[in-house]
Symmetry: C2
Subunit: 250 residues, 2 copies
Amino acid sequence: MTQNIYDNPEFFQVYSQMRRSVQGLEGAAEWPALRALLPELQGKRILDLGCGFGWFARWAREQGSGPVQAIDISEKMLGRAKEMTADAQIVYERADLEEVELPAAAFDLVFSSLALHYIENLQRLLALVHAALIPGGWFVFSVEHPVYTAPRRQGWVEYEGQQSWVLNSYLAEGMRCTDWLAKGVIKQHRTLATMFNLLLRCGFAVTHVEEWGPGEEQIAATPEMGRERERPMLLLVAARRASIPSALQP
Amino acid sequence: MTQNIYDNPEFFQVYSQMRRSVQGLEGAAEWPALRALLPELQGKRILDLGCGFGWFARWAREQGSGPVQAIDISEKMLGRAKEMTADAQIVYERADLEEVELPAAAFDLVFSSLALHYIENLQRLLALVHAALIPGGWFVFSVEHPVYTAPRRQGWVEYEGQQSWVLNSYLAEGMRCTDWLAKGVIKQHRTLATMFNLLLRCGFAVTHVEEWGPGEEQIAATPEMGRERERPMLLLVAARRASIPSALQP
């Protein structure tokens, strides 16, 4: 079972004040890059895994999408999401992505923003997502980048005059406990190779990979973002349901 | 034009004494992992880009491969390779991979070990490799991992009791000048995303990715290799020629 840190009152209070919580998609620096990986949404049936406050679901509907099923583990986030939503075509559902069940071949697009690094059994979820998509359907997601999740203790050092990220434990996959907004937030570190090979084995064709960092304009507006170019913090991936998962073949 | 550091007498002398130069493939710690990505070689026509002393070419022939064309920029290395080779089915050719021309649909397998990080125009070379393969043909290569090539100055620090790799400049692609065996060795840093997207755009289907680090047995035998698990030094990739490169489509 996932930790559900978002229902921790201390965490929720601080998270609720973040730019991305107050301003929605436009408050997330990586949103333009993630949006660029999305297909045309007109009429598409969408599943949003880890929907948080529902910003993506409402935006997708504004783009003319079909119905959106939006899943999150956090009661507090879903409560706030429902308050902000007046659209019968958006259905919110509370579920743990470790245990969720999904209908088969029911969606044209599965979207997930910064949720998969909480998932321990990623292969189970990817196989479900594959089965939940129609053939050729899209899977677009962001996740914390492995060089960001790897270290036992995250931090920066200055090395020969250059701000540098302290990278260790990269090949030691598994749980990481960080103090981010609250103490003891549990995430799962996986290498990029593992994520990629799991996608392949589950029957996805990866069509684009992006290791996101802020652009020049973003750094000009928020200079402290500059060091985000020293190491990628986020991984953005676009993939399509290709065929029968090789892992499931006889 | 590539630097051709291997013909620098100082570099060549030190490189010639490395385990992988003296013992061949078995002296390269990553060889078991790279070998595991290769298809069955029986009868396959092979191209080896950056063949060095020709260890792979001779090994492939021992596995029953068809003819091997082996290319390198270094006169010294090719000279040594020819001395060690008594097989008319291995043809050595001196060429700069930045400028090489390759025959179309002439190979079943293109192999390259630790050469592509010297190449500035990788897209040109990947498009050539794609065209040189038969449809469904294999491209298996190793390259220095982007977290290894990224830093302006490579180095380790101790951080909270943990040996840590100093990562910076990851998103700043381009030339890196390192002192490795000799002063001023020039390599090209590219992000993992760029390598991956170039492969896709050139019409490859990536079938396996490995971020290589030594295994337990290797560390037991050579304890100083232990810290190689803190960050991946090498990237190993298996891909297949999928279709017409999208970049070349009208």
